[in-house]
């Protein structure tokens, strides 16, 4: 019984740490925004929790009604949270292992479907 309790507590603590640890791959632009103290997303916990809903709402509005705003656009997410490989000056795809999107999705074991169709790096010529 005690052994189970230890295992349970370890899991609990590790999961708590997993949620509090700093994102190593926030992305260059996003990191600098955060460092400057500016707030982009009104609440980090909300954007973490319900970003799929924001995106789903936005995708329907854009595709079906032609409402093209920057707010919650996947394009915007990618361009801000992408990282650049310093050695060859190329963007790293946000869905590659260890990058912003896949980092979290892997941890919570949720599949990441957007990028089978959507571009994973900002548009060409923006390097």
């Amino acid at each position: 019984m005690n052994r189970f309790l230890i295992v349970f507590l370890t899991l609990l603590i590790s999961s708590a740490f997993a949620h509090t640890n700093e994102h190593a791959n926030l992305g260059e632009q996003a990191s600098s925004i955060k460092a400057s103290g500016k707030v982009f997303h009104e609440s980090i916990s909300i954007i973490r929790k319900i970003h799929p809903e924001f995106l789903r709402h936005k995708r329907d509005k854009t595709l079906r009604q032609g409402v093209r705003t920057d707010e919650y656009s996947l394009k915007g997410c990618v361009s801000c949270h992408v990282n650049k490989d310093k050695t060859n000056n190329q963007y790293r795809s946000v869905d590659k292992k260890g990058q912003f999107c896949s980092d979290c999705h892997e941890q919570v074991s949720v599949s990441l479907d957007c990028f089978t169709c959507h571009r994973t790096i900002p548009k060409e010529g923006s390097l």
């Binding site: 995708r59 329907d60 509005k61 595709l63 079906r64 009604q65 032609g66 409402v67 093209r68 705003t69 394009k75 089978t116 169709c117 959507h118 571009r119 994973t120 790096i121 900002p122 548009k123 060409e124």
Partner: protein
């Protein structure tokens, strides 16, 4: 307490209210025009295209095809062969058997008013926007290809392979159907479709079919034009003259 309105008072109040409402309403219209991208598209417009096959040269059509490929990022599929290759816009040769006259057509999605692809789609992925542009919602597309069967113009294609680095404005993915979007991302910004912009002459005119002051509306009033397979009563948004 029992004050009743006589006819004169009633008319006075009513006209004041009407003027008030009209002022507010015109204010609303002004703000909506100022931010067109933030408000949903309406059926007050219908986008269309007029292609003059007498003025359009073969080189023009090739230019249109490559402009579309460049803009939307299709055509460089490595593993798709033959009929699997996407074709959003095609060069078509039609010959009048009696006279031998050959016309070259640029054939793309005709953006029908009554699109058969929308009728048959089981998931509502195939859809028509309020302003007449027919699109595929790839979030809902299950790849059944019923729309490809239903389309009389063979305008739709299916993505057969995994793709990377799509265009930012045009997500494309394996297992979904796609076709000409009339460059909806550009139209929403007030620009013209890439294929129209690639033609130097006025062989292709793009505009709002409903707007009486638009060039396309004016031209359609004066020249003879035709819909391809007009017998199907689909009322296409793409019109051709000279065929």
């Amino acid at each position: 307490m029992n004050k009743t309105l006589n006819r004169r008072d009633f008319i006075k109040t009513m006209s004041a209210t009407t003027i008030g409402v009209a002022t507010v309403a015109s204010g609303i219209t002004l703000t909506t025009f100022a931010s067109t991208n933030k408000v949903p598209v309406t059926n007050e417009k219908r986008w269309g295209m007029l292609i003059d096959t007498n003025k359009l040269t073969e080189a023009d059509i090739d230019g249109m095809v490559s402009a579309c490929q460049k803009e939307q990022g299709w055509g460089s599929e490595l593993y798709s062969t033959g009929n699997q290759k996407p074709g959003w816009i095609k060069k078509l040769k039609v010959k009048d058997k009696a006279t031998g006259k050959v016309s070259n057509l640029a054939l793309m999605c005709q953006h029908c008013e009554e699109p058969p692809c929308v009728d048959v789609c089981p998931t509502n992925a195939s859809m028509k926007r309020e302003d007449g542009i027919v699109l595929v919602d790839k979030h809902l597309c299950i790849g059944c290809r019923y729309c490809m069967m239903a389309c009389p113009y063979d305008a739709r294609s299916f993505v057969h392979e995994t793709l990377r680095n799509q265009k930012e404005h045009m997500p494309r993915g394996k297992g979904t159907v796609e076709s000409c979007t009339m460059c909806v991302h550009k139209v929403d910004k007030g620009e013209v479709p890439a294929c129209v912009a690639s033609v130097n002459s006025d062989a292709v005119i793009f505009g709002d079919l409903y707007d009486v002051s638009s060039k396309i509306n004016q031209t359609l009033k004066t020249v003879q034009s035709a819909q391809i397979r007009a017998d199907l009563n689909l009322n296409t948004g793409i019109r051709y003259s000279g065929i």
